[in-house]
Symmetry: C2
Subunit: 335 residues, 2 copies
């Protein structure tokens, strides 16, 4: 899926910032791609962009309106439909990460047919993937993996892309989830792919490249999560990473949505190497990215020192302390 | 997906038996469910059933016509459409395992709307699955796993169901592939499920049961197959097996469709226990099922003796020598 930017971010009338986290993530990482935000009466989220409607955004050069907000259930509220129709009438494509398909709403389908605008349902890939082959491709790859879901794998991958580019490395973030697709303008929501094609989709989204080029692939789930480990394993095999970074949240006691305990960082490193070596025998861990938001600064530094010592790897909180040490380890390891 | 039997097996005009292997598998394992076969002029496959068309089958009590043959590409040949329409007109449901959906053919959709007959596309599950939870369910489960794809996991599971029932055990085969769904009348083609729901689908198809009941779950792929390992892992986590049987083909040198070597039986046992213990800490291997079709009888027996000794487990070729020894091991191990 390829999205054209610049974007107009549609925030609807959501009740808080959390409901607009997709839009806020896009602004964080791709501010230059965002010409404005469109908010309806009563909207409590604010991405800090110029306010404009679809027509004004089109005049300002926008190509796609991204519905960057969700309500509970992932369903499209009926009173947002008019805004989406207006965006199509203004000549924009419309992209969403909702479960509900835009084309299933008759007014939206009709408006798209009339305007020729594209309806981009990021959760419903239209790409026809091949099954994965596991054949080694040129180019280098880094995958973020996790001790759980929602521990910062996307953030870490984006922070690494940014720091690697600053260090003069040739690096591209590769999205495997819906927010990531909006941020990179390309990718696939890999958890929405048909099961037979998980590793094939991962191969597609990180194609053969220059030997010194790095793809920084956004991880999904965890090999130890009983709901989603199949996705994580297919992604690991398809991404065939040379390097991986383990993402972790130290205060969590159970994995998200289930009763299982969090695995140890050591267990995740070991199983990732064991399984990942199927498609890349040289796979190695180059760092630990710890979300320390729940800890005070002294506590956070102490925890990072401890796990860094235990594993002989750089450990940092990407949000708090950046990822420079991990990029240094990567450069040294692949010099 | 639930199919009503008895079945009429539609063989079309396929050029050989291999193209009708779905129909032949159904007759092998569920002869009492099959009232007849419908073959078109020139058909080279024969399931050995009474010849009849849809109307005669309906009179004989058939409830579903199973399209038990495929042509290359999994597309429905245009000249089979009239037979499918006739089946619907005779009051039957129609089931296929083709990639192409029956309802995408206008004549078929119209006939189904008129007759009220169901169009059952086994490859396209309409079941809404939840994500897997990994919570231990009552009842016992056995999963067949493989060193590769197409090494006899379905056959072994069906042979085990049959032998376990003969031994007085309460056992049900649980289908995870299209032929298996036709044979059991229920199940899901797990490789066609959306990636996020692999383990959830496995939990659905093997629900909580009586503590002494055994579900014998058909395995898919291999944890070592770079195309499909994600499916295998999600199925392993969702099935939460107490016991597993490793299926193997000793003369193969590469995994199907890729360039990777076949893993050792030991590797498969170890990784299955390591990953499977996430949802069932007591998981254990109870036997080896080896497809020795490519070996002479003396060679086959020697190979089975060798691997049985190496692993301290019963080893048999289910087709050639049955699975009694594996069922004995299972009974002993779970007495």
């Amino acid at each position: 899926m390829e999205l054209k930017h610049p974007y107009l971010l549609f925030l609807g009338d959501v009740a808080d910032s959390l409901a607009a986290k997709t839009a806020l993530g896009i602004v964080d990482w791709r501010p230059n791609w965002c010409v404005g935000q469109w908010r309806l009466e009563g909207c409590k989220a604010d991405a800090g962009l110029p306010e404009m409607d679809a027509r004004a955004a089109a005049e300002a050069g926008a190509k796609t309106m991204v519905v960057g907000a969700v309500n509970a259930g992932g369903v499209l509220p009926a009173h947002w439909v008019a805004s989406i129709v207006a965006a199509l009438e203004a000549g924009l494509d419309v992209a969403t990460g909702l479960h509900q398909k835009l084309a299933d709403v008759p007014e939206i389908r009709a408006a798209a047919e009339k305007s020729g605008g594209r309806l981009l349902d990021v959760r419903h890939s239209t790409e026809k993937f091949a099954t994965g082959k596991g054949t080694k491709r040129p180019g280098r790859r880094l995958l973020t993996v996790g001790t759980d879901c929602s521990v910062g794998k996307k953030y870490t991958a984006l922070a690494l892309e940014s720091a690697m580019r600053e260090a003069g490395m040739d690096a591209d973030f590769r999205a495997t989830g819906q927010t990531g697709v909006f941020i990179s303008g390309r990718g696939a929501a890999i958890d929405a792919v048909v099961a037979d094609f998980i590793s094939g989709a991962a191969e597609w989204l990180s194609p053969a490249a220059d030997p010194n080029h790095w793809d920084v692939v956004e991880g999904q789930g965890s090999l130890y999560h009983p709901s989603f480990a199949g996705v994580s394993l297919g992604l690991l095999h398809g991404a065939q990473p040379d390097a991986f970074v383990v993402c972790h949240e130290p205060t969590r006691t159970k994995m998200r949505g289930v009763e299982h305990p969090i695995p140890s960082i050591r267990d995740v490193i070991d199983l990732t190497i064991r399984c990942g070596s199927l498609t890349n025998p040289d796979i190695r861990c180059v760092g630990l990215a710890v979300n320390t938001a729940a800890l005070g600064e002294a506590e956070a530094r102490a925890f990072l020192d401890q796990v860094s010592g235990e594993h002989g790897l750089p450990a940092s909180d990407p949000v708090r302390f950046g990822v420079t040490a991990i990029v240094e380890e990567l450069r040294k390891s692949f010099a």
